[in-house]
């Protein structure tokens, strides 16, 4: 097994001059499960394919272990990859698909047999070994593709949206199985997805990309509670975080407040230092509150501390144990969470408590999150 390091890695295609992957630096520890996530076209696949050796590197370096592999052909990198469309060889049986790589390396028959047996046992596809790929269901094909990738026991495991062709239920199941597999094998893994839930549930760390640039790298908890900028805050979490624009005003002794046409909120003490040092008084900022950290007053345990706003309910959606209530505050929409049994009539005005410990502030121009005492 090995670590993977990307150093100032860039990719340009001929024809359009822009970098589709733009000087990214990323260090993936030995045995880590790193998820690359981002909207469509942000360069996730391109990055992964450069690590695989399927795309040339325009600038920068890729290290696998201590070696620079920029110009090393894929087969010498000792990595294996699972493709979105599985890429099983239609003309070969499941067994042959899994044994193909070893056959090319002229592995002895009994070693090959036992490796295939072992991997297929782990993935519960032993009974399918004789079948052709077209005789398998989507989920079975996915397993075979995984099996083919892990049978060689590579240094690094690359997966490019491996679950996106499966139905929702199967996706959840395979998600858990892949995580479990990684726990058992502890092979360095890079996993590409555009699904933030997949990223949050699977990754040891997550790397969020946009327009070829890395926005943030961190544990799922990190990126959720301390997103580095507005984009990350909006990308991670469903329903997405509420963002409101307003101005910082000074309240004298009482510290600072965030104010809009409709309401004024006392900002928590932990932001004071930043507001002073960046002199944000009377400047625009964005305030972010996740729906999970806003509630009806009855369900808030902490001291409300003056962080109440008021909105008119226009929609409420039930998702299992929770209900998300959508309100209008002036022209802006705002979502918060309530228990499923809470029925709020449409059109009613409700008070909403924002949990002060979860308030996020973002700079209006750079869209970076403003640091607080906890950073």
């Amino acid at each position: 097994m090995a670590s993977v390091r990307l150093s100032n890695l860039s990719k340009r295609y001929e024809g359009n001059g822009t970098n589709v992957v733009d000087r990214i630096n990323l260090s993936i520890e030995d045995g880590e499960f790193m998820v690359l996530v981002g909207p469509s076209g942000c360069g996730k696949s391109t990055t992964l394919r450069m690590v695989a050796g399927l795309e040339s590197v325009s600038d920068g370096d890729i290290y696998i272990g201590p070696t620079i592999v920029n110009d090393m052909p894929p087969k010498q990198r000792d990595i294996s990859m699972v493709f979105q469309n599985y890429a099983l060889y239609p003309n070969m049986s499941v067994y042959e698909n899994m044994a193909f790589g070893m056959r090319l390396r002229k592995t002895e028959k009994h070693i090959m047999d036992s490796s295939v047996k072992q991997s297929s046992r782990v993935l519960e596809i032993e009974h399918l070994l004789e079948r052709k790929p077209r005789q398998l269901s989507g989920g079975q094909r996915q397993r075979v593709a995984l099996g083919r990738a892990l049978v060689r026991q590579p240094q690094v495991f690359l997966l490019d949206e491996p679950l996106s062709n499966l139905d929702a239920r199967l996706r959840v199941q395979m998600r858990a199985e892949i995580v479990e597999l990684h726990r058992q094998l502890a092979t360095t893994t890079i996993y590409v997805t555009h699904d933030q839930i997949e990223a949050m549930t699977m990754g040891t760390r997550i790397c969020i990309m946009k327009n070829g640039k890395i926005q943030q790298v961190g544990t799922p908890e990190d990126v959720y509670t301390r997103p580095s900028n507005l984009f990350v805050a909006g990308f991670i979490g469903t329903p997405p975080i509420n963002i409101m624009q307003g101005t910082v005003v000074e309240l004298g002794e009482k510290g600072f407040a965030f104010t809009t046409k409709r309401f004024t909120l006392r900002l928590p003490k932990r932001y004071e230092a930043t507001i002073r040092s960046q002199s944000l008084m009377n400047r625009n900022v964005f305030l972010g509150v996740r729906p999970e950290f806003a509630s009806l007053p009855a369900y808030y345990g902490g001291k409300s501390d003056g962080l109440e706003i008021r909105g008119e309910v226009f929609f409420s959606e039930l998702v299992g144990a929770d209900r998300y209530i959508h309100v209008h505050i002036g022209a802006d929409a705002f979502v918060f969470r309530a228990p499923a049994y809470e029925r709020v009539p449409i059109g009613e005005l409700v008070d909403i408590v924002l949990h002060p410990e979860a308030l996020l502030l973002f700079h209006a121009d750079t869209e970076e999150r403003l640091p607080d005492e906890r950073d």
Partner: protein, 290 residues
Amino acid sequence: MRLWPRKSRLNRLSPYQLLLVLLMTLLAVFMLMPIVFLFNHAFKPMHELFLYPPTFLVRDATWVNFLDLLTVSKSTIVPASRYLFNSLLTSVLTVVAATFISILCAFPLSKHQFKGKTLLFSSILVSLMFAPETVQIPRYYVISSLGIVNTYFAHILPMVALPVIVFLFKQFIDQIPNDLLESARMEGASEFRVFMNIIVPLCIPVVATAAILSFQSAWNNLEASQLFMEDETMKTLPFYVSTLTSGLANSVARQGVAAAAALLMFLPNFIIFLLLQSRVISTMAHSGIK
């Protein structure tokens, strides 16, 4: 027991579809006529062969034409079996070589990037449009400078380059997902392994079509025997058949023999097509030709 357990499918068609079926059937019958004629003609006795107006179906079917063919072939210096052997050998070798080389050519055209690729592919397409006669002289020149006149190579080599097949294979390989090839490369396959273990097996359905096309052109090829072969023993069946009726003195006498020989010439094509037809149709459907 009922013969038609279910309602015939024809009953379920709309009048418009019925009309189409009818028209298509008529067209099919029309297209079939030469073949029917060919079969009947070969079995006609002498007096029926020269009837005017000619009859379509044979009345007194007879094997006499085939027997005559046998006698004629015995009386020539080179036995007919030698022509047949030459024909079979060169046709089979041509089919194998043409198919393999066409896939070999189509693979990089489809899946690799290199300078001049578009130019190369267009020139292959353009060569589809040349009438064969226009290239006879240059071809003779090439064959004679290669020094392969009067060898089997001269039968085979000109037939190996079949632009239609290259085109067909390229269209087909275009549809093979790149992931497959990339996956194989990552597992350590060389380009040749990728070609042999993935491209070729996946192309098998098209091979049927390619085989028919190249067999037809090779089997019916008269040019090589006429232009490139000096020895009678190196010539092929189409040449032999053409000699049966050529020469004024024989043109009446050998009509029956010629009819029988024409049928014999046609049969291999026919059989191969029957054997492979279901595959051919699926190729057409796959490659977007249908």
